[in-house]
Symmetry: C2
Subunit: 334 residues, 2 copies
């Protein structure tokens, strides 16, 4: 009898072994098909976002596989949270360098599966290709929300309060620690502080718990990924307004406060360094108490850091009444 | 007055200049937001697919920017076509090597925009990142179809006819020509034949014109991207059936027929080489005439190449009654 063509390629085996367990959504068809189906509930929109991360650019070549998996999914979940959407699923395009082994894939897919479950965002499908260079993970994530309720960047109005979730600057200092451990000796941080900051860079904590509060109360919102200063300026530009932020009100972790006390020049890094994956949003004054109560109930504080005013740009006022001059307000790889 | 944070990063400028013109869908929000919205019409499902292509793996480093753009979108459009879906839009994650210039981006986005318009598949959003290695283009594409009508891989039934669109093997021979131009001298092809084959590799022709015919008539379908032999074997495996293909019936272009006459050993490359981006599907005998008439009306012939039978695997019968023995039935980068 003639040898018949193989029904399973190496890629199929790789998918079957490592990725199929993550495809719990019925629309994923167990990853045996070329496409998945997804339908928002009646009266709902689908919200779509895509973010890619590359080794040596968005994470370190020696970052553990589980941290890479979590970062890749969470930077997308953060966008869904800021838009007020409930996660529904994601597509994964994974470019693997030659020789990526089973243990790496096992760790990567196990962490990805754990996050997919935790955030209610199952794998729907995707593509696994050989990378001619370093590892790259490209994810398109989907969420749902009642029709027409996506919180956009362009809705901020004069008089709105500006709120930010969690704490700002941790990840930027964590990246600095990772790159120049020695230079940070003067920061006088405990091992625990250093651990907090490096972990905040390594694995983002997307604020999906705040999605409903943001959707119900915010006039505009976006996630803070390229630095609070630059991202808030982008929100203002889209909305045709200006922002005044009282720098002393920007919420900081105790580790970041310690580092700032030791080296005040770090303030610019804190406010513009990026990788926060917090939410910045604007709310009408009448909604301020309600959104803060909803945020407390969700377990993530939202701090009132300033107001929307007429004009353009985002000013960060200091105690002396002067604004900070940023050398570089927003992080960009280009 | 203090210098305010810039509201536009280099990435924003790049997006505004090159990609915004492609974002014609209202849900893309002019690419100023972090996410897009998309909603299938009432009673419809959204079909999702993702495919990535990398320089040096899926295309040549010196391929022109416009061909790379078209291939990246079209390999995804091909999946939508085979599933019976009407294109609705796509997300793009583009990893650009350092120093990618304006002329490249202009050519890339112009071709991408032309195809987006031609196939009714506008840019909804995405991400542009720096690539630490070669260029990589990752696309997630979305289509719509009446609820529950996606044509899956697993619906083939014993007795079904097997049909394939267009012609098979051109792209695999085109790739061979590209890699070993000299070795192909013995094929005795005209310049026009060589042009046809290399173009079929360079720019796929997705069969979106056949989507409705496939959705209305096919019991199972998939696009042929990794070789007819291997892909048909996958369809059979998913459906729990076997296929018998009459090799002489497989539709070939005149260029491929000439090459085969000169070198019969190329048959395996033709049947298993990949990059065809044709559709293989199965239909009940009662639907054969209707699907072929619909395909003719759509301008792309669908050829009846064999039958679905009990068993497993896909056999390619030759005129002498023997099946072909494939050294490697399916293309895989792993």
């Amino acid at each position: 009898m003639a040898m018949r063509p193989k029904a399973q390629s190496n890629e199929d085996r790789l998918i079957g072994r490592y990725f199929k367990p993550l495809a719990s959504h019925p629309g994923a068809l167990g990853l045996i098909d070329d496409a998945a189906t997804l339908s928002p509930p009646p009266g709902h929109d689908l919200v779509l976002t895509a973010d890619a991360i590359a080794a040596g650019i968005h994470f370190f070549l020696d970052d553990p596989a589980d941290a890479v998996a979590r970062k890749a999914l969470r930077v997308n979940l953060s966008d869904l949270a800021a838009k007020g959407a409930k996660p529904a699923g994601f597509l994964l395009a994974l470019a693997l360098p030659k020789g990526t082994g089973g243990p790496w894939l096992k760790s990567f897919t196990r962490a990805l599966g754990a996050d997919a479950k935790r955030f209610g965002c199952p794998l729907l499908g995707g593509d696994t290709v050989r990378s001619p260079g370093p590892l790259m993970v490209s994810i398109a994530a989907f969420g749902t929300l009642p029709r027409g309720t996506m919180v956009r960047r362009d809705g901020a109005r004069v008089g709105d309060h500006i709120l930010v979730s969690g704490t700002i600057g941790d990840a930027a200092l964590g990246l600095r620690l990772r790159k120049t451990g020695n230079a940070a000796r003067g920061w006088k941080l405990s091992a625990r502080d250093r651990g907090h900051l490096t972990q905040r860079y390594l694995v983002p904590q997307p604020r999906n718990a705040l999605a409903i509060a943001v959707r119900k109360h915010a006039t505009a919102a976006m996630d803070v990924s390229d630095g609070l200063a630059g991202d808030l300026a982008k929100l203002c530009r889209a909305s045709g307004v200006a922002a005044v932020v009282y720098t002393a009100r920007v919420p900081l972790s105790s580790a970041t406060r310690k580092a700032l006390r030791a080296d005040g020049k770090l303030l610019e890094t804190v406010l513009s360094g990026g990788d926060d994956y917090e939410i910045v949003c604007t709310v009408r004054p009448a909604r301020l108490a309600a959104v803060q109560a909803a945020a407390r109930a969700a377990g993530v504080p939202m701090t009132d850091i300033g107001r929307i005013v007429r004009g353009s740009g985002a000013s960060f006022l200091q105690a002396n009444g002067k604004s900070i001059r940023f050398a570089k307000a927003s992080f960009s790889h280009f």
